[in-house]
Symmetry: C2
Subunit: 112 residues, 2 copies
DNA sequence: GTTCATATGTAGTGATCCTACTTATTGGGT
DNA sequence: ACCCAATAAGTAGGATCACTACATATGAAC
């Protein structure tokens, strides 16, 4: 999984990882690694700045807590984040359909 | 179609556009625009440097010609380019499958 | 003769993800 | 006791890539 390929799609993955419930950064990292069979294995230098961006954009809301002596910043999808996620999903479907069509010459399997 | 989404996937599109036969840059641009229903509409500042990169990488070979008083640089897929294209296609399928699975939670429609 | 489509190109910008490093706590191995 | 791995968060700087804006030139239409 090359680095450049992910560009522009990471936010959608992070939002999706938070859709099932609140998670802290490290947990998001692991959730993503497991849900993709290890193919999306983000370094901390990618995930934390990305979460900060999403928080600054108002798509997720973070709050500090301490569990087992370790500080955690737990993130939840905001209402704007939920909307953004469905937008990103639609964007992805469109994007994937276009690229697949251009590459394969065959139409995308209908999901409608 | 947001700009950042395309990052890392452009080369595959360009190689695919050249698969059906030799084309010059402007023609590649139009072919891509038409094959994607206008959704991939690359500015010249994107396409020409990208073609230069591919040529420098040995994936395409360019040659000058003059048609109707206008100079053209016509590109052909090299052998390495053909191999690269099938690699890029495989990469895309893997990538798309992973992202779709992570976003939708459902497996990719089997193409096998 | 001016404007549009054709045709190619460069310089600089901005966004994004990664590498490498730092800090801190808990718990297991020896 | 000591060290190291896993957990947990973060920053600074670098590399890549596509885009904006601009420059150049010809042919065709009006």
């Amino acid at each position: 999984m090359k680095a450049e390929q992910l560009k522009g799609h990471l936010d959608a993955l992070l939002l999706a990882a938070l859709e099932t419930g609140p998670r802290h950064g490290y947990a998001v990292m692991e959730a993503l690694r497991e849900s993709t069979g290890g193919q999306v294995d983000l370094p901390t230098g990618t995930i934390y700045p990305a979460l900060h961006r999403l928080e600054a954009a108002g798509l997720i809301a973070g709050s500090w807590s301490v569990v087992g002596g370790r500080r955690r910043r737990c993130y939840v999808l905001t209402e704007a984040g939920t909307k953004a996620l469905s937008g990103r999903r639609a964007d992805w479907r469109d994007f994937a359909a276009v690229i697949t069509a251009a590459l394969e010459g065959t139409p995308w399997p209908s999901t409608a």
